[in-house]
Amino acid sequence: MVTVDRSKGHRAFRWVNAVILTGVVIVTLYPFVNIVARSFSDEFAIRSGQVSIFPRGFTISTYQYVISDATFWTNYRNTVVYTVVATAISMVLTTCYAYVLSKRHLRGRRLLIGIAVFTMFFSGGLIPNYVLVTSLGLKDSIWAIVLPNAISVFNLLVMKTFFEGLPVELEEAAAIDGLSTYGILLRIVLPLSKAVLATMVLFYAVSFWNSWFTAFLYMSQNDLFPVTVFLRNLIAGATSGSSVGADAADLTVATNIKSVTMVLTVLPILAVYPFVQRYFVSGVMLGAVKG
């Protein structure tokens, strides 16, 4: 590569850019670092406001305490199970739907797209959904979480666009060589779509990992909740105005316990990112450029 002559303006831009982006990084990273620091600090240091970037009064006893909580682990396991099952179901359904929609010669294609897009703008509402799921007998089962939101229309459209970008000749050649429709999808199209598949897995997995509302709606037993509900109760429950103002006998949960729970909850999904990262950018871009 030949070094390109850089104008003064360009260099200045790069500097300004670097400074601003560093600022953004610090601003976004600081709260997280602070939480991690708190999770390793003792309660007194947090209360007296000494903890910022580094832990004060270093202790791992909070971790030991949270880890020894059986409910936390039950809910944690639920989150893992829900996320894995839901992502698997979503991927299968979204891939099939998107592949079908990518075929321009399909009759009724616009109607099928219309049906999907319709749900982006209109929904039945909270109570009708609740009544539906309840009368289907899904309440208090994993299906209440993994089925109702199995297809995300946004992901579906990204994937459809990606499939449309694959050369038609490739599939024609495969067909002439004797592959069935399913064979084409499984042995030709999917292996070529690793980037978009990885991206979709990440999208789905993160959103299922973080979601709490569906579980909150349809689960009525403590050992069925995902860890996000556990965490939300810990944070929002203990700091809500009504519990402080009205009910003095209610005790608050220590801040370092909250921090530890947050760190433990975020950790796995954070650990997945670096591995999917390389697919990530190309995956989204491939789907996006072709409109």
Binding site: F44, F216, G241, A248, V253
Partner: protein
């Protein structure tokens, strides 16, 4: 993924509830015919009697899951309850963080369990129109302990505040024997002693003490308060305002205050007493006795100032004193002595008060459909025993004698050595709430002064003694709004409350002069203050005419 936010969800629920209301025909059943509902009930149930179902029964119940003591199925509470009463509770577990939302949803969807506890007075009104909630006032005769307490403790006026337009009430509230004042100010007694100052008994004395503190420590603010981020002037506006006859902050409620002398409701934020309260606080702020950040800083910041000796007073209840202030304070300064002082006295003299000036607590709603259950009578007896009998409350709070607590000859309760609760037995391996399920906010609240104070420390009992000796404030009369009125009132309340809160701060911090008070009241009127107060007074008059 579609995630509805809270407001959308509530609007949707409201709309649905309204629809449901239109559809529900009035299938009136005679409320005193229980011939088909007596299965499992005790024919001779009464006060002082242990409830025991004739056959094993199961009742569904909404359960508010507290993060500090998450529900466990192997709690002694559940097994012992079944042993004593023959009743098994089937809980529908809801996280405390979003309890109200799920409660609305589940009632709106017609999927509510029979027993719906942890409902605060006035929260039940939203469900009255839907017809999904039982008017419990029609069935009080099935609850001898409840009736007994209302009569014995003279709670009828308090109960009347719950009545709806039809003259009935839909919530079984928790009942207190006496007013329970918990919030006051915590004061550094060691510093006062050092300067030869007495604990202030009135608000004026408090100001004198603060001045002396400021003279000695010019860099400090004697009072730097907390909870301002939850509600403007949360505790200060409430306790000072109450002594001036016009509580703000946490005591603001629906914004109206019963004026006993005039015989009608007035708008709190425009009352003379409210103005005087603000003027008092303004004086404190002007003389730099009150930290101007008191109303905006986080709780942590306020506690830091107290711990580091930059302030000497802070709002407190019995729990925060022991759990949040003393541990860090004694670490930072072993000689520090922080005490919760009896609420200083204002122009109204020594008074005691409760939430909305009643002795009611959060309580239980019952699903309308439970009325058709063949176990309805047994269920009402069960609720009566568990929530309203001395034995039931003792059980819910302290557990099982010999296992979780012992009682000595003088009748004092003591936890067994291996059980801890509110720091009474800090080294014990087990916890009364976490490991046994007792003293659970869902089941244990209210009751006699004896049972309430049985878990209090010596100093807290002394505080309560002082407060209990004061005079109660008159309970406001019932003034139930009709559905349309309530809708209208809700639209007016929010902007009024915002305006009161914002301007209260401006007046206190000197950003607005008290010469503009009349202008401020006129602004309130521009936000429909008079219309709102007239609405409330109209409802009061109408109710008085219809129901005496």
């Amino acid at each position: 993924m579609i995630e509805m936010n809270r407001r959308q969800a509530l609007v949707a629920i409201g709309a649905f509830a309204a629809l449901a209301a239109c559809g529900s025909g009035d299938d009136k059943k005679k409320s005193d015919d229980f011939s088909a509902n007596r299965d499992g009930a005790m024919p001779d149930y009464g006060p002082g009697k242990q409830f025991k179902a004739a056959a094993p029964l199961t009742f569904t119940m909404l359960y508010n899951n507290h993060p500090f003591y998450p529900i466990k199925n192997d709690w002694l509470f559940w097994s012992e309850l079944t042993k004593r009463t023959g009743v098994t509770i089937q809980p529908n577990v809801v996280p405390l963080s979003d309890y109200e939302e799920k409660r609305s949803l589940i009632i709106g969807a017609g999927d509510a369990p029979m027993i719906i506890p942890k409902t605060y007075p006035a929260q039940e009104t939203a469900f009255v129109a839907s017809g999904a909630i039982l008017p419990v006032s029609d069935y009080i005769d099935l609850m001898p302990n409840f009736k007994d307490r209302v009569a014995k403790w003279n709670l009828q006026p308090d109960l009347d505040t719950l009545r709806q337009e039809d003259g009935r009430f839909y919530l079984l509230p928790g009942l207190h024997q006496d007013f329970w004042v918990d919030y006051s100010l915590a004061v550094r007694k060691d510093v006062l002693d050092k300067l030869g100052l007495q604990i202030p008994g009135t608000w004026d004395e408090l100001r004198t003490v603060m001045k002396a503190l400021k003279e000695e420590y010019p860099d400090s603010y004697p009072l730097s308060d907390r909870w301002g981020q939850l509600e403007t002037g949360a505790n200060l506006f409430n306790i000072i305002g109450t002594s001036y006859g016009a509580p703000g902050g946490w005591g603001y409620g629906d914004g109206t205050k019963w004026d006993a002398t005039a015989g009608k409701f007035a708008f709190t934020g425009a009352m003379e007493g409210y103005k005087q309260m603000l003027q008092y606080l303004h004086t404190l702020a002007e003389e730099k006795l009150l930290d101007p950040e008191s109303f905006t800083q986080s709780d942590e910041q306020a506690i830091q100032k107290l711990v580091s000796g930059k302030s000497f007073m802070i709002s407190s209840n019995a729990q925060t004193l022991v759990n949040e202030y003393r541990p860090p304070l004694s670490k930072a300064n072993p000689k520090a002595e922080l005490v919760k002082i009896p609420v200083p006295i204002g122009p109204l003299g020594p008074i005691k008060y409760g939430n909305g000036n009643t002795r009611l607590e959060n309580g239980v709603m019952i699903s309308k459909k439970a009325r058709d259950s063949k176990n309805f009578v047994a269920m009402m007896q069960f609720i009566d025993w568990l929530w309203y009998s001395d034995e039931g409350q003792l059980f819910a709070k302290w557990g099982v004698e010999g296992v979780t607590y012992t009682k000595d000859a003088s009748g004092r309760f003591k936890l067994t050595d291996d059980v801890d609760f509110v720091g009474l037995n800090p080294k014990a391996p087990k916890h009364l709430q976490k490991d046994f399920g007792f003293s659970n906010g869902v089941f244990a609240y209210g009751g006699s002064t004896e049972i309430l104070q049985s878990t209090f420390s010596e100093e807290e009992i002394a505080f309560q003694k002082v407060m209990n000796a004061r005079n109660p404030v008159q309970v406001p009369p019932p003034h139930p709004l009709s559905d349309e009125e309530r809708e209208q009132a809700t639209l007016w309340q929010a902007p009024l409350k915002d305006h009161v809160a914002q301007n209260s701060l401006k007046f206190v911090l000197g950003k607005r002069d008290f010469g503009e008070w009349d202008a401020y009241v006129a602004e309130l009127d521009g936000k429909n203050m008079s219309a709102y107060v007239n609405l409330v007074n109209g409802a009061y008059e109408r109710y008085k005419k219809a129901h005496g």
